[in-house]
């Protein structure tokens, strides 16, 4: 399981932007508050401080894109690749959760210890304009995969009330994903890194997660903790951390 922390994105510049949905919207904590281009084929350049090897996009409408890592001069290409949902490149590993029309991307790339740029070119789109909700980039903090008790569910924020005749009034609102599970971590290592350096600092601030299970199924999710995580120090060197994540829109 991985989490991008801390976020190293220092700025973004879009090729084009809707007047009411500017590119800076990808820097906030609300994926529904998108950057929207004015066409179905557009690009976004993300400035990243040194010390990063993963980038995450939440609420992305593109189904095919290229990503190019450029050094701080913006002229030198470190590496570039085109890919879509059907391929996994050996240089870039990417993991998506595209079982809705709201797609999250997690893309690993070679560690860059200097300031650099990630240049996205969105090639194919599910709508008439390209949209991206949130961008995060930084060091991917990696721990073991969750145990076999990983669960996935939904929280439905819709409003439902019974009408006079027994039927129902229903106003559909957002439905978000939840993931719960546990990971067994070395107490003197990953356990306290996660608990003290990340979760205790950030609390319920949403972060970019990649959840990977033992079957190599993976999910990229922008989520916050539900409640506080709890760990059990039930072996001499290892502790079991129980986590409960809920998607943030």
């Amino acid at each position: 399981m991985k989490v991008i922390y801390p976020d190293k994105v220092s700025g973004v510049t879009a090729e084009e932007q809707h007047a009411n949905y500017p590119d800076d919207n990808v820097l906030d904590e609300h994926p529904k508050k998108v950057w929207a281009a004015t066409s179905a084929d557009s690009g976004l350049t993300v400035s990243v401080n040194g010390g990063a090897n993963a980038v995450f996009l939440a609420g992305c409408s593109a189904t095919s894109l290229t990503i190019t890592v450029k050094d701080s001069n913006v002229s030198t290409t470190v590496a570039a690749v085109n890919y879509d949902l059907k391929g996994i490149d050996t240089y870039y590993d990417f993991f998506t959760d595209f079982f809705t029309n709201y797609t999250s991307y997690w893309i690993d790339y070679t560690y860059q210890d200097s300031d650099h740029f990630l240049v996205f070119d969105f090639l194919e789109n599910t709508g008439s304009t390209v949209q991206v909700g949130v961008v995060r980039a930084g060091a991917a903090r990696s721990v073991y995969e969750p145990d076999w008790d990983l669960t996935e569910g939904f929280v439905d924020y819709s409003i439902t009330r019974e009408l006079n005749n027994g039927a129902f009034y229903h106003r559909k609102r957002d439905i978000v994903k939840t993931f719960s599970g546990s990971v067994e971590l070395e107490r003197a290592g990953d356990y306290h890194v996660i608990m003290r350096d990340i979760l205790q600092v950030e609390g319920q601030t949403p972060l970019a997660w990649r959840i990977l299970d033992y079957d190599n199924q993976s999910w990229a999710i922008y989520a916050r903790l539900q409640g506080s995580p709890v760990g059990s120090h039930n072996t001499r060197d290892y502790s079991v951390l129980n986590f409960d994540l809920i998607e943030v829109l």
Partner: protein, 331 residues
Amino acid sequence: MLLVELEISGTSYYLSQEGLALNRYWDALVQTFDPPQYSMEKPYGGYIRPSYGGITFFHNLFSSTTFANVWVPPTACQIAIHYTNSDQDSSVTLFTGTAHFDGLNREEVRYNLYGEKVGGGATVGKGIAYQNISLKDVFTSCAVTAGLSLDTSLAKSSNTEVYHTVTSDQEITSFLSNLSASFTHTYYTKEGTLYLVDMNQDNGTTTIDFYFYPSNYETNAPLSFVTSGVSKSSSGATYPYGTELSTTLFVESETSTQACLDSIWDVYHKPIMHLRVPFTEPLVTTPRTRVQWLDTAHGADVSAYQRVQSLRYDIDNEEIILSGEGEWEAG
């Protein structure tokens, strides 16, 4: 979906209780919103007076550099509140006016809402005499004083002669409220126009099919008589166990007095319906609309209608409460 436009230090902020991506993004910085409501002042007529509570915001709206970055919150802001069930262009305006700072605690910043003062504080002065002038003509004169247009298309055209000398300065909306109620009329204001409506007239009609929540029906406490001075109502049944309702009339002859008292008696004793409906389009926003429906949830079906005298927009509970007097029968 609640849409709030708030102007802070010359900049407009677009807010809601939930993040909404419409023509623009409405940030989820509204915590609570007290239901605006419109209530008729007397059970037989008078001014349908708007009342507004308050609205609370998250601190971020004022303290964060992402938003207004004005701390402490300002004393007053211009505000417009709309509602839509679908898209931004279809929104209905519920309120425009001023939000005045009420207070803050560690959870919220609270503002109270103040609408435009109808009539601008105008008064009807002591000594003004109305002698054999129709209700419509009195309203025409007062509408000019209040700076409002006037619509009397649903008001009575006869038997409303006013005989009255004003004995003390009165705020204009209160004077017109008492006057219109005495003739079983009501009035409301909307977008700069004053509408005078006979309590027995329909201000448009709408039928609601099954799309309403469990609702309730009641009656006012019975009266023995409606009185004005020594005159008593004489129509309909008398409920000797009821109380007397004393009212002020603006007529001269005993015939006119009796007609007013009997009319008040009739309207007062009509059943009152409280119909709860979801926020679905089109919203009922016009007082005295005749709303009719068939209620199949009781021991036997009830066919009912009301003329709306009170509207309450409870956005937090996703319902509008339409209250009014009307008629009911087996469905």
